[in-house]
Symmetry: C2
Subunit: 220 residues, 2 copies
């Protein structure tokens, strides 16, 4: 499930990862107060490491903090989710464009093979998409952009937040049907080194996801 494995070396790292996991997966609900003393007793670490972990979560836009008052898990709104998808559209569109320029042939081939494998599952009736496969696809293209800052931005920031939104709004496992073909076309454009087309297709792909989510949200 985790590609880019981050490894915890300090106690703060562990606390940060654990806290992020609990928030993203919904154990700690949206809007919840994060009490430093409470968490430090729960995790059996000092307040200082909890503080540092919370600071990092704030940097990820997962919690909001007010001076002298405290930190709360961000409250999720439909607008916030749509905003996030607009950002993803811009950044991942650019990633696809850059991947068409920079991604090594061998990586493109591996990505193509990955899709073929997934296609086998589709034929066998296993519903495309598992979320993991989708994540893997997007992540490989991001890495393929070879823009280090873009990679950091998307893997550290956006994805956890996006997953958090989906979990908390009850829309894990997005649309199953057409995404496979869209992925296919994107890879083809990258293989053809057609950056402009790759960007257009990726942006449209993300727009579809966004619309799909917007529809679900409007039924709530």
């Amino acid at each position: 499930m985790s590609f880019f494995q981050e490894q915890a070396v300090t106690s703060s790292d562990k606390t940060f990862f654990r806290l992020r996991e609990e928030i993203v997966e919904g154990e700690i609900p949206a809007g919840a107060k994060l009490s430093e003393v409470e968490l430090s007793t729960k995790y059996e670490v000092s307040r200082a490491v909890v503080r540092e972990a919370i600071n990092r979560l704030e940097a990820c836009n997962i919690v909001e903090r007010k001076a002298n008052v405290g930190a709360r898990v961000v409250t999720l709104t439909a607008e916030g989710l749509l905003e996030l998808y607009q950002i993803r559209e811009a950044l991942e569109g650019m990633a696809a464009r850059l991947a068409a320029q920079n991604m090594p042939e061998i990586e493109i081939e591996k990505l193509s093979n990955l899709l073929d494998d997934q296609f086998e599952l589709v034929k066998q009736g296993q519903s495309y998409y598992q979320e993991a496969g989708d994540l893997d696809f997007h992540y490989r293209i991001i890495v393929g952009s070879q823009n280090q800052q873009l990679i950091t931005m998307l893997s550290n920031g956006i994805y956890h937040l996006a997953r958090m939104y989906r979990v908390q709004l009850g829309m894990t496992g997005p649309r199953v049907t057409t995404a496979y073909d869209e992925h296919k076309h994107i890879v083809k454009a990258i293989a053809n080194r057609d950056g402009e087309l790759a960007e257009i297709l990726m942006r449209r792909h993300i727009q579809y996801s966004k619309n799909n989510i917007a529809v679900k949200l409007s039924k709530m």
Copy 2:
């Protein structure tokens, strides 16, 4: 010079702002080690405060930190600067598109008037651009997007880093000549509520800046 004024309430805030200023403006040079004890004596605060400030700088991508070793100011490379401009192109392009959808008429008018004022200066021979005016222009469009996460991302993260690059690579006060016209056209597209054109023009505008910088870099 500072639009979105952030106000420091805690001691950590002050230390963070001050440290960021010193780094961005080059008083603390690229690659410099940030010793916690040294800074805490220099600023006359505790190490905890300095630590928190450094953590925040890390979140802004202004310093890099290795566990049990310490934090250093990021070393600036030409590739890094170009990477940053690719990200700006994607995000600010999207911002322009959204501004065309969402920016209130009154704000568009104020932006247009701002450019007219600046045009007076150009006629009087005062070289367009001061950096401040350029920043103001871009910032207003970003805010006009009304995408809160995009606004946060660009104002907190990207801009300080971009300025830091320009200062340290000795390219403050970018190209003077054509930028005014480009700004004019972008505002016109926004006023016409033509998001697609606004995005294209903004992206091209940033590409020009990037190319301009790339040329300067190649002469070094």
